[in-house]
Amino acid sequence: MAKITLDHLRHSYMAAPKGPADYALKELNLDWQDGGAYALLGPSGCGKSTLLNIISGLLQPSEGHILFDGKDVTALPPDQRNIAQVFQFPVIYDTMTVFDNLAFPLRNRGVDEARVKARVDEIAGMLEVTEMLGTRAANLSPDNKQKISMGRGLVRDDVNVIMFDEPLTVIDPHLKWKLRSKLKELHQRVKVTMIYVTHDQTEALTFADQVVVMQDGEVVQIGTPVDLFDRPAHTFVGHFIGSPGMNVLPAEVREGGALFNGNPIALEGPISSGNGRHEIGVRPEFVTLADAGIPATVRKVMDMGRHFVVEALAGATRISAIAEGAPPEPGVTVHLAFRPDQTRLYRDGWIATTREGTV
């Protein structure tokens, strides 16, 4: 088990990268605490898999260092880093039994057979696969295969970190949540540092204590699930987390106040100084249909059963609101009100308001 430090890490798949655009992973400095549960969240192509492969040693970074407990492991190959990885598609050794699959990493390291048996039995118990130990792994269902892949990481008590690369991709939707929570439970029991890569917000937020949101090779926010939902530091985070995502409206800043379509909008706090492209961000949960406010035309109403998602057009801008009561008809003009303490200003994508009462 180890603390993981990423020090001035950068990576480009090109031999001679010229500008920042050539980097699949832009400069990164991070500390991951021993025993933490982390998620790397972002859309495909955001650099999360690149980062994962660099940590596991399958890829050598162009620049910077990776440290496990302060020890530089940048040059070490994967098998010397004492890491484990679970891949998108379950990797199992077809010809072996479940037991032999789980024992494989231990036997490769010359662990004596009595210890192998004890560890495999223990992990099989945790994964609830004890009764399958004697069967050939090739005959298992995808979710059990994926459990075995996880198990091969868990049997070793010397692992520094276990990494998961979108491990639930091939799992049936109705089994996903079971595995998801199994993983969380396992983490609480074994206390090994785990890093989970996914594009699925539910998987990331459910599994991780700390979520690292990435976009275009860059980390845009690191925080707890509550932080990310309550106060996105970047419009991308607001859009990516939550369904529907945060409304992002083009804004003007005049005399310290923000305007949308000429309407002054109350924000959570004062705007920091600076220039750039301004946007107002407010989640649909905090937009209400009111008697007064921004006039908009209802474009579409989706009946979600437990609430309605109302999509309205204010000028050319679409704004979503979540309504609990009877919804308006499409075509009707409504007035939208934003809850001030949940309304923020973003400059060039990044948050530019400070919350009242905080620094």
Binding site: D79, Q85, Q88, Y93, F104, N108, R109, S149, R152
Partner: protein, 287 residues
């Protein structure tokens, strides 16, 4: 309401007709010959299973079958591991992939009789590149027309040269279908190169390897053109394989009855051994 679509049969019909003319009709002719005796003039007499008994007791047949078995055995023992090794050492990505593939495929593109003729010239002791080299540079007395050992070495070498590529290409196809994640997982699990081969590459290659072994078995067991063009079955009868012997009996001596019986026995052996290979190699797939 149960309306079974019978139209499907129309689509299969041409194939059935083709197979009938291609295989069934000639085969029935052979069966017909194998149980009859003729003294010319297109007169046939019932001979029962006599030819079969004769063939099965004939020392000439035993010798030819033994040579054939040895040939096939050597071919499989050399070509399959060699093919696997070459496939394993071929690059998986990049510029060299097409180069390797084309190089590998080249020998297979050459017609069989041309291969025989090529090797014939290649091994001539006076003017052939290999023959000259062995005799006059290395100093080995190498003459295919005199030494049975040299003749055997040559037909084996020729077949290896000609057909190992098939094994290579099939295995290579199996290897490239293995996702990178397997290799990465094995690295992380601390597996040795041998373990990677034993537990990842070999199991994933197994299906194509089964096909490769079957094809190489059938082809080498039924081989005719190349060794015939190269050695004509000699010196003496030392390289007279089963097929060569069969042609000698059928066309050389025009003994249609024994030749027909021998063909059927030959066919039965090929069929049985192929079945055996297939059963053995796929035995573990379902449990």
């Amino acid at each position: 309401m149960r309306k079974v679509n019978q139209r499907g049969w129309f689509f299969v019909l041409p194939v059935l007709v083709l197979v009938a003319f291609n295989a069934l009709v000639p085969m029935m002719t052979v069966v017909n010959y194998s149980v009859q005796e003729t003294f010319g003039n297109n007169q046939f007499f019932w001979h029962g299973l006599g030819w079969f008994q004769d063939i099965l007791r004939s020392e000439r047949f035993h010798a030819a079958l033994g040579r054939q078995a040895l040939f096939t055995f050597l071919i499989l023992v050399i070509e399959v591991p060699l093919g696997v090794i070459i496939a394993l050492s071929m690059p998986r990505k990049g510029f060299w992939v097409p180069v390797c593939l084309v190089t590998m495929a080249l020998p297979m593109l050459i017609p069989w009789n041309v291969v025989g003729a090529m090797w014939n010239i290649f091994t001539l002791p006076d003017i052939g590149l290999l023959g000259y080299f062995l005799n006059h540079v290395v100093g080995i007395d190498y003459n295919m027309t005199r030494s049975p050992f040299a003749a055997w070495a040559t037909i084996i070498a020729m077949d290896v040269w000609h057909w190992t590529s098939l094994v290579v290409l099939l295995c290579y196809a199996g290897l490239v279908s293995i996702p990178d994640a397997y290799y990465q997982a094995a690295k992380i699990d601390g597996a040795s190169n041998w373990s990677v081969f034993r537990y990842i590459q070999l199991p994933k290659m197994k299906q194509v390897l089964t096909i490769a072994v079957l094809l190489r078995f059938m082809d080498s067991f039924n081989v005719y053109t190349e060794p015939f063009v190269l050695t004509g079955g000699g010196p003496g009868n030392s390289t007279t394989l089963l097929s060569i012997d069969l042609v000698k009996i059928a066309l050389g001596q025009f003994d249609l009855g024994p030749a027909a019986a021998m063909s059927l026995i030959y066919f039965a052996i090929t069929l049985f051994v192929s079945w055996l290979f297939y059963t053995l190699m796929t035995r573990n797939d379902t449990d």
